[in-house]
């Protein structure tokens, strides 16, 4: 009995000694990064998280516009060379100096991380880094390359001292996780927490000195659970608020809700390369020549979409109507293009002109766990199409299954579906991103049209895109990209844009988040009183 008593006393005293620690900001994240290594996995959650610890030469602000971070200036000095002047006096988290050697080391490591499930090779290949002096770097390419700052913006600079010989595991444990960013790495327990503390010596570019002493990230995947954690004050700030809850949360005076348009367009891709499309039939089930090859049918489909209803009813007003591939404000966006009006009468006329006055049967395929309300979007589209005689069936599936079939589920690894609901976020913040991936002719050899799942192809568009990608002058390139969009989307209806996704963050009422178009959740963009 005495033993039990001593045991209990010991237990309770230990309970009391392990008391809570102070923390300044707790963030509830939908998706946690898969690694602390900034070059291991080139994907949204990782890139967003790494911004806290690591700097880049060119920073990317909330609208994906460039600002000087570790480089103070950059410019092309001839057709194939860009010069980057590095910021002087920057210290790594351990106090050592940042120099051009670190940049040279980063350029060599970033594309070569073993077992990387998505690497940075895409942004670094064909670029030769040359060290001019301790704070100047030249980057050479074979051909003129205007997207240099956009590509360089994606690559986090790591310390040579800690990075040499370091594995991804060394970053995860914190041994090599030494950066120049506003926060220092403390600890990562996968699935549970990531702890950071302020870097008092931060050079202050971008959003300035760190505002919180300690930041704790907690991954909470389930949407309702994330909201509950915020309401229960277990976290101060959450991302990815489900649209269904936004209106209700806005009426809560203890919360501050911040929504912003993202760079992600929800669009429709249509089979334009098969005379016999596998998921299209004549009314009643007979064979029919693929109507989606006819631009008049594609235009009719676009006119049949009631985008106002889509935004207000399906998306609960947490979206913006889309008429092209990126919202206003991005580089290469056409000033002339507006979202197509809802006009079923003209649409019916176009269908008749194309010889489909009786309509046809079609299956709309879409994911059900990838984009905001994706399955509901597909269902709403099917109803809208029925008004112009297209009898549409909807089939949605988890993204794990969907994307494989959409990209290469058919014979000879061709895309399987006839009509797809998809989304595209322009990571580089420029119209060239969706144009080259979605609307350029599919061509493996030059890395174009990778996500062109409808295999839209127009040589005149290809030519303009390629010309734009070789035009260093920013304004001229923007005009070319706008022209390519006007032809490929506005005239050809190569894809049909539906709406731009909006993202919503919620915080306690004393804070407000500056919404980022790249959907990233970065603690430095949260301002608290």
């Amino acid at each position: 009995m005495r033993l039990i008593k001593t045991f209990l006393v010991l237990f309770v005293s230990i309970l009391l000694s392990n008391l809570s620690f102070a923390k300044d900001l707790t963030v509830g994240l939908k998706s946690e990064p898969s690694s602390i290594d900034p070059h291991y996995h080139n994907l949204g959650p990782n890139n967003a998280f790494a911004t806290h610890i690591f700097g880049t030469l060119v920073g990317s602000d909330e609208n994906q516009q460039h600002y000087p971070d570790l480089a103070t200036s950059w410019k092309p000095i001839d057709d194939t060379t860009w010069e980057f002047k590095l910021r002087k006096g920057v210290k790594w988290h351990d106090g050592s100096d940042f120099t051009a050697d670190d940049v040279m080391f980063t350029a060599q490591r970033a594309p070569n991380v073993p077992k990387s499930p998505s690497g940075f090779g895409t942004y670094l290949k064909g670029k030769t880094f040359i060290k001019i002096d301790s704070h100047t770097i030249h980057i050479k390419t074979k051909k003129p390359y205007p997207l240099m700052p956009n590509d360089i913006m994606t690559v986090k600079i790591i310390s040579k001292k800690y990075g040499e010989g370091a594995t991804t595991a060394d970053y995860n444990s914190g041994k090599a996780a030494i950066g120049t960013g506003p926060y220092k790495f403390v600890k990562w327990v996968p699935g549970d927490r990531i702890e950071l503390k302020a870097n008092e010596n931060y050079h202050g570019a971008g959003t300035g000195k760190p505002k919180y002493k300690n930041v704790l990230f907690k991954p909470i995947k389930s949407g309702p659970a994330r909201i509950a954690a915020l309401l229960a004050k277990d976290v101060d700030f959450i991302d990815n608020v489900p649209p269904l809850n936004v209106a209700k949360l806005k009426t809560n005076p203890t919360l501050s809700i911040n929504s912003g348009a993202s760079n992600r367009v929800i669009y429709l891709h249509m089979d334009q390369f098969r005379e016999n499309s596998p998921h299209i039939k004549a009314i009643g089930g007979g064979k029919i020549k693929n109507p989606l090859m006819d631009v008049r049918v594609r235009k009719a489909i676009s006119l049949a979409i009631n985008r106002d209803a889509m935004v207000s009813k399906v998306m609960e007003n947490i979206a913006v109507k889309a008429g092209q591939l990126l919202p206003k404000g991005f580089h290469g966006v056409s000033p002339n293009m507006k979202p197509d009006p809802y006009d079923p009468e003209t649409a019916k006329k176009l269908m008749a002109e194309a010889g489909y006055e009786k309509g046809f049967e079609m299956t709309i395929h879409g994911p059900n766990d990838r984009y905001i309300n994706d399955a509901k979007i597909a269902e709403a589209l099917a109803q809208m199409f029925s008004r112009i005689g297209i009898k549409a069936k909807v089939e949605t599936m988890p993204k794990a299954v969907y994307f494989k079939r959409a990209s290469r589920g058919g014979p000879n690894k061709s895309p399987e579906f006839s009509f797809m609901v998809l989304g595209w976020g322009a990571g580089s913040g420029e119209a060239s991103s969706p144009l080259r991936a979605l609307l350029h002719t599919y061509d493996k050899s030059i890395g174009m049209g990778r996500a062109n799942r409808g295999r839209h192809s127009d040589p005149s568009v290809d030519k303009i895109i390629q010309e734009a990608l070789a035009t260093v002058d920013s304004d001229a390139r923007g005009k070319l990209l706008a022209k390519a969009t006007e032809i490929a989307v506005g005239k050809n209806y190569g894809v049909i844009p539906v709406h731009y996704q909006m993202n919503t963050w919620a915080a306690k009422s004393t804070c407000s988040y500056t919404p980022r178009t790249d959907e990233r959740t970065i603690a430095t963009y949260l301002n608290c009183k």
Binding site: L43, K115, D192, K221, A232, A400, F403, W424
Partner: protein
């Protein structure tokens, strides 16, 4: 006996082998992990590099052979997402799941046994009827929904308990667990109660049935005749005798508590194995799915083996087939 155990071991390995084929082939039929992992802006060359890097360019039979030969050496493959050994990832999460399962078992026993005995002892009282009706609710309400209601009530409305995650880790006699800190206990309480709900209902019903049966036995009547207090009858004579079936059921269900706590772990963002497997399935992290299922199958196969062997010790009337040859 030894021969029997060896035979059972042989059978167990056969089961494991067949399971490994089923799981491996099944998992490889679904979707494309590369589409999940890769940045959409990557070009075709990068996609092909990743396919090669993950070994997905090889035929499934070759991938399986590679998996099998490594598995025999104790290497169940590395996660596509984390690039860490799948086994290590799972074992890292195991303590969190174990403490959740243990605590929920503890809650279910201290709640269910007294209630069950009461319901069996006074079957016609209003309270007993309420308990029994309540236990039906425990069976029929979906865990996910109850979890959210718990959070809304205890964490959001009352603000008594934290809504999410695992608390601080303390150490006691060399064991590290969040059950050893107040903060940790407050975190584990809601998810454990959520997980225990189903168990509470089944244990209440078992206990009540046992009590009803035993209360009619001669030795209870005899104990009453001897003039023993009701307290002693209930706490000693009834409780001891109803424990046997309860222990059996709890023992067997403990396995499922560990293996299938996924829903609770997802709602409460509990960093255990269940959350890992769900995330792995969503992201098609095949090596982790395969390793997890293999571990769970091993767990169940040997749990059953242990139970069979234990029976022969506990009850001499039980003879195992093949033992007397």
């Amino acid at each position: 006996m030894l021969e029997y155990i060896l035979k059972r071991f042989g059978q167990s390995f056969l089961v494991l082998f067949i399971m490994s084929i089923l799981v491996f082939v099944g998992v490889n039929l679904v979707g494309d992990p590369v589409e999940m992992l890769i940045n959409p802006e990557a070009d075709q060359a990068e996609v092909e590099r990743v396919i090669r890097e993950l070994g997905l360019d090889k035929p499934v039979s070759e991938q399986y052979w590679y998996f099998l030969t490594n598995a025999l050496k104790g290497d169940l493959g590395s996660s596509f997402i984390y690039n860490e050994p799948a086994l290590k990832l799972i074992l890292q999460r195991m303590p969190a799941t174990l403490e959740l399962a243990l605590f929920s078992l503890f809650i279910s026993l201290i709640i269910a046994i007294p209630l069950g005995i009461y319901a069996g002892y006074k079957p016609n009282s209003k309270a007993s009827k309420t308990i029994m009706a309540g236990s039906i609710l425990g069976f029929s309400m979906p865990t996910f929904w109850v979890g959210i209601i718990f959070i809304m009530f205890f964490a959001v409305y009352l603000g008594w308990l934290p809504s999410t995650g695992r608390g601080e880790i303390g150490s006691f006699l060399g064991i590290e667990s969040s059950l050893f800190t107040l903060n940790g206990l407050s975190h584990v309480f809601l998810p454990a109660l959520n997980l225990a709900l189903f168990k509470i209902s089944s244990v209440i019903r078992l206990t009540r049935a046992g009590t009803r049966e035993i209360i009619l036995q001669d030795y209870i009547t005899f104990a009453r005749a001897k003039g023993l207090s009701e307290k002693r009858i209930v706490l000693v004579h009834i409780l001891k005798n109803i424990l046997i079936p309860i222990v059996t059921v709890i023992g067997l269900e403990f396995g499922s508590l560990i293996a299938f706590s996924t829903v609770t772990e997802t709602v409460f963002a509990w960093p255990g194995m269940g959350k890992l497997i769900i995330d792995s399935i969503y992201n098609l992290d095949r090596p982790v799915i395969v390793a997890y299922l293999m571990i769970i199958v091993t767990f169940f196969v040997f749990l059953n083996l242990a139970v069979d062997i234990l029976y022969t010790f506990l009850d001499p009337r039980v003879r195992l087939k093949g033992m007397n040859q």
